[in-house]
Symmetry: D2
Subunit: 409 residues, 4 copies
């Protein structure tokens, strides 16, 4: 009996199978890219060439037609088993394209733009990236600013952090603030990576996810046309509309961390089953190791369950509510469930890797051992946006109690 | 957006709606039955009269035709919101009838017997009960013994504990051991509650679940015919066949404890929203209370997710594998997932009630307050069979590592 | 090797030995008082007659001269092993007398009053009680009000909850608010229990601590003289002075819950070591039970360690700083350590009782089993003042970060 | 009010002050040594020159005379705040010398040898190291074997792992097994690092503790005299004598991990208090960050409390019981308390660093940030001997229940 998560659609099955194929390949290079902190350009090219990067795109636009968030999440978790850095890098693109596909299916006013972009992606001409985080502020309050130049263009200055996938991006979907009366509005812009003034800093050197190319991206007097500006939203506010916009789009990112946990667990099980040292004993035969494996399995059961349930809820919700206005306060309820899922899954993923490390004995602590990489990679989880891990409980409580604003900052 | 668990079939929807109706009624008497430790006979009659007790029975046999374990579990969780004692009492019957329905659908050799029994249940003539626990031994190793009298009958002596629903039972499905060579076999028997020598001890007086009528049931020289003896199984062994036989049948029991948690949570939210004391402050407005509510919601998200996933896995598994032999070792894998679910859900249910108590301030600690009942009821959870809570991690570890036997005792 | 907590002074050793004697006696009646919710008047009389109630009083005033908070706490934990209700009832008196002794040693301006009171206690003439909690407000913000009658007296109206020990109290140390300009000041008053208008409501009926006599105490037009009014403090503020005043005084109360945990643990160990049921198996021989016992021991090691360390810190701190002004902000640091201790100890005590319940199997769930009483008693812990369990983490964080006020409400 | 752990003797105070001085110095080089995985030879030399490495040696033999395990542990925790790798390297030597001092004070038969060694250490001529761990076996069952050559010498072959401090060691205290009838005995030997056949492999490359020089040490036909063989003990047995021999000697090692946690906590507090990013917000002003800080403080309170209590218990125990025979089964009780302490402290240290990472935001995840080093260093904790973290609960349970052998393997 296979108790791994299973996709719910035929398209999903194809996507998951493809993810597993890529993962097997990427796993062979994961340690080296980690050691060298080198960007696995060849992996992204393979994903582009196989059509993986076009997975969420409707079949009529040339994609794989995977429309279920759950199925997309499962596929991304499988990919992350091979190389977590590659998975979160690929996810930067996948989540943007998933959102394009949603707009297209929802017959949103941005449908045409989204359609065009997806055709380009399906034709393997474009890779998207969304560097949006900035140091010392929240996702909803970008300090990067776009100023009208009086001639119909905007000039952008600012610095983004954690620009995962930036080394190979063609288009940058970055948030800016624009003066609006006494305050600001927040806008997403589409900036060609080749535009003058765009600089990918090549400065990513971190504890984990070292091959993800999460460099800073600096904008110095970058000029964009009005047409590159997507519709605005309130600045420095996290509300139902923010929840609608950010919940589903982050689902596949969180799913990657399940894959890390599963990879660590599989390594640990393999180690436990092998005779070890000159005495030739198997760890699997120790009752205490059996106990730790049991803890790991229970954590895994939780992680899989919350990811599956959140995926089903999202699939149902976004199908019923094609846009934020129609979704209303329900968006906050969905966000609550997804943030709870994230909170739980990221912690359980860390726990699972930790237990795998325990099972490994000192071996997993060695630099050359893949567990030492997974231990570093998995800790990136709690930093994932849109809410910090430390904000989730308050947010969940406030939404449940109907306190406004839903998030205290 | 409703994030409660939702049934997957039309029959399930009717069942859940009926459960909610009954729960609203039972809630009005729950505290009194708890205080008096009285058996809510009127509740069981209402469940019988409404057809609730025939829910798992195929429509062609006169039942509601709810065949999904998940849907049955959701319904039982709703019922438990009103009165947990009634729910676990009703569940004793429901789980036996669910198993009859499975045998019938699986075209098992016991199909005819099962069919007859179900018709009688649907006709409101029979209530089933399964007193099987015994003090100082495990479910797989009954010490209650049936001895052939040499004239084609068996004579049973022994004492069962936790005979929930026994005050109104017509048929007792109890396990016995029978000499088999040098050892024993374990058999389920069907014993009329009215048979000479059957004594329901009326001695249930416990911390919680006080209205569940979980009396000891004593068998003194009870004679049964060979026909009342179901096929035997190894004695004192927990193996794949035991797992097949006990996993699904216990699903609805565990589900009841979600209902307790949900009831406690709802009470706490209501209390937090009300102005309190002469100063008229709302607890909901304190950031720390919001935080505790957030913790409660996250725990609830976990509890619901693991219950849903285990239900889907069971629905899938028992559909694919109509009998234990065909299921093979997969039964242990399924049991692992269900035991992990039980382990998590029971602990989270306890945590949720505990946090509801915290939110209530001293009020919930008063005898007259429903939370003080829920606090006592929910602690019954970890005792639920077939495995003790303290056995789950070892079991999960051993199954995962392929260690035999799957359970160390 | 005895790893129980050990007193640090000779006086403490005598006190602890006396506590153990009383505990052995009280244990024989604890279940009955619990069942009947009757107040164990004979226990309090025994404690008075043996000199136990005069333990903190200096030897020159006729007491046992136990001046170490740690030693007092250890003694109270031993007493609670026998009957937790009696222990927290006795503690109401002990903690007030401990504070009197501190004032006397600190040569505070209230020294003479404190001395006189202690002599009366040592002469077995007076039992003190401090009903101060009120529903819907915090300890620092009593709504019970004292209004000057213009003739040099004050008239008090209000209602106190959780008036533990009130059935036998001679003097009530209760907080009131008094108008002070546009606001209020908070004062402790000394009210004879026999004063007209004082009513002990005989209404305590709770989940646990059922024999503690924690009735509501109602004040209706109770007149007190100005001399019965102790010096005022800011109303509705928790600051360094509040911390100084409430930290040490609550130490012995928290210590009682260690005793509950130790009693539960001892019962569980005894049960595990006994052959059980017709099969005569010992739970102690199961590896999983050994594991649960190990968890219980680790929790106990934590509980004892934090109680010991907090006691030593208090002993050191109050010796160095005889009054609040001299102590300054250090009082908040000490309060942080003590609140952290409380947070940990109360949770670990609950966990230990829960694990003892697990080890007991169903037996501990029966009403007649002492574990079912301990399970209910121990849950009172997180309600203990001055801060709610849900406030501790925020308080600790704010004190550490130097945020004012130290407690957000 | 200073709530750090405080030494109990004057010698301890001097030692702790010296540790703080060294820590401040070592902190300036810790990141570089970590990055380069270089051994901080200059640090060890500084520790030798200042007399730090002679701390446990009686004053009459030329040392600092710190005889309290608690005080030694506090000093090591302070040292680890600056550079954890240096601290655990220094501890290899310190713990051996501490044991020499114990033997000397206990007037053991090895007193003279111990005294001579300590004089040499005090004269800064000798650094000791104890490479004893081997892959695939337990500490009590070395596979490294010493075979008599028939001419009064022994020939040693085997491979030790985790030979912390080996780059600068003069003497290696390594365990070997020697045939004894049909079985083996386990002996500690003293091997000059310069002896022919001793090879320090220079192969330490790990996730954390990268500057600790924990290379493999290989013995190839190393010849030692009979005099270099310390008295034998049963092989592959963990009993009361093993507990006596290994409990105190490991205390200072565990203490180092408190220092890591304290360093991480201090860094996090500093970061929280600083305005951040272009918006200039302080994390300290967010209620959720205050909450996380509170969690960190509670964890720290636990870690300090268990370390202090275990230290006091050890100080008391080894004073009362100068040798293993006199200590009897009490050694297992003490070992239980120390293993429980280790289990708790190592986990809390990990939790504290994790929370510090959370507070840091993404900043702490960068390679150049000291938190990313502490995150890797602290994970070494659960691997520390003599028992694996996964063995502690079973061991504690079995000792408590009186099950033999005390450890199931």
């Amino acid at each position: 009996m296979n108790t791994e998560l299973q996709p719910t659609s035929e398209q999903g099955q194809r996507f998951v199978a493809l993810a597993e194929e890529h993962a097997a390949d990427f796993a062979t290079r994961a340690d080296q890219h980690d050691r060298e902190a080198s960007f696995p350009k060849e992996n992204i090219e393979a994903l582009r060439d196989s059509g993986f990067l076009a997975a969420p795109i409707p079949e009529e636009l040339g994609g794989m037609g995977v429309s279920s968030y759950l199925d997309l999440g499962i596929g991304m978790s499988r990919l992350a088993r091979g190389c977590a850095s590659t998975a979160i890098a690929a996810n930067m693109h996948i989540s943007i394209v998933t959102e394009m596909a949603r707009l297209w299916r929802a017959r949103d006013e941005q449908r045409d733009g989204a359609g065009g972009l997806m055709r380009a992606v399906a034709a393997k001409q474009v890779i998207c990236c969304g560097p949006n985080t900035e140091n010392g502020t929240d996702l909803q309050a970008p300090m990067t600013e776009a100023v009208p130049d009086g001639e119909g263009h905007y000039v952008i200055n600012g610095r983004k952090a954690f620009g995962t996938l930036s080394p190979v991006a063609d288009l940058l979907f970055s948030s800016v603030r624009i003066k609006d009366g006494d305050g600001y509005k927040s806008h997403l812009t589409i900036i060609p990576a080749s535009a003058p003034g765009v600089q990918v800093m090549d400065n990513w050197d971190a504890l984990g996810m070292r091959a993800s190319g999460s460099h800073d991206v600096v904008f110095t007097d970058v000029r964009i046309s009005q047409g590159s500006l997507l519709p605005g939203a309130p600045w420095n506010v996290y509300n139902a509309a923010s929840a609608f916009a950010t919940t589903a789009i982050n689902y596949t990112l969180i799913a990657c961390f399940l894959g890390i946990a599963e990879a660590a667990r599989n390594i640990a099980l393999e180690m436990a089953a092998k005779p070890k040292g000159p005495a030739g004993k198997r760890l699997a035969d120790r009752t205490q190791i059996q106990h730790v494996v049991g803890e790991m399995e229970v954590d895994l059961a939780i992680a899989r369950a919350v990811l599956e349930r959140a995926g089903r809820l999202a699939d149902d919700f976004y199908t019923r509510h094609p846009n934020a206005a129609a979704a209303g306060a329900g968006s906050l309820e969905l966000a609550k469930e997804h943030q709870a899922m994230k909170y739980v899954l990221q912690r359980k993923a860390i726990d699972i890797v930790d237990k795998a490390m325990t099972i490994s004995g000192g071996a997993g602590y060695m630099s050359k051992h893949p567990l030492s990489r997974l231990y570093r990679d998995v800790r990136a989880g709690p930093f994932m946006q849109p809410l910090g891990a430390y904000e989730v409980l308050d947010f969940a409580g406030r939404v449940t109690l109907g306190i406004e604003p839903p998030l205290e900052r």
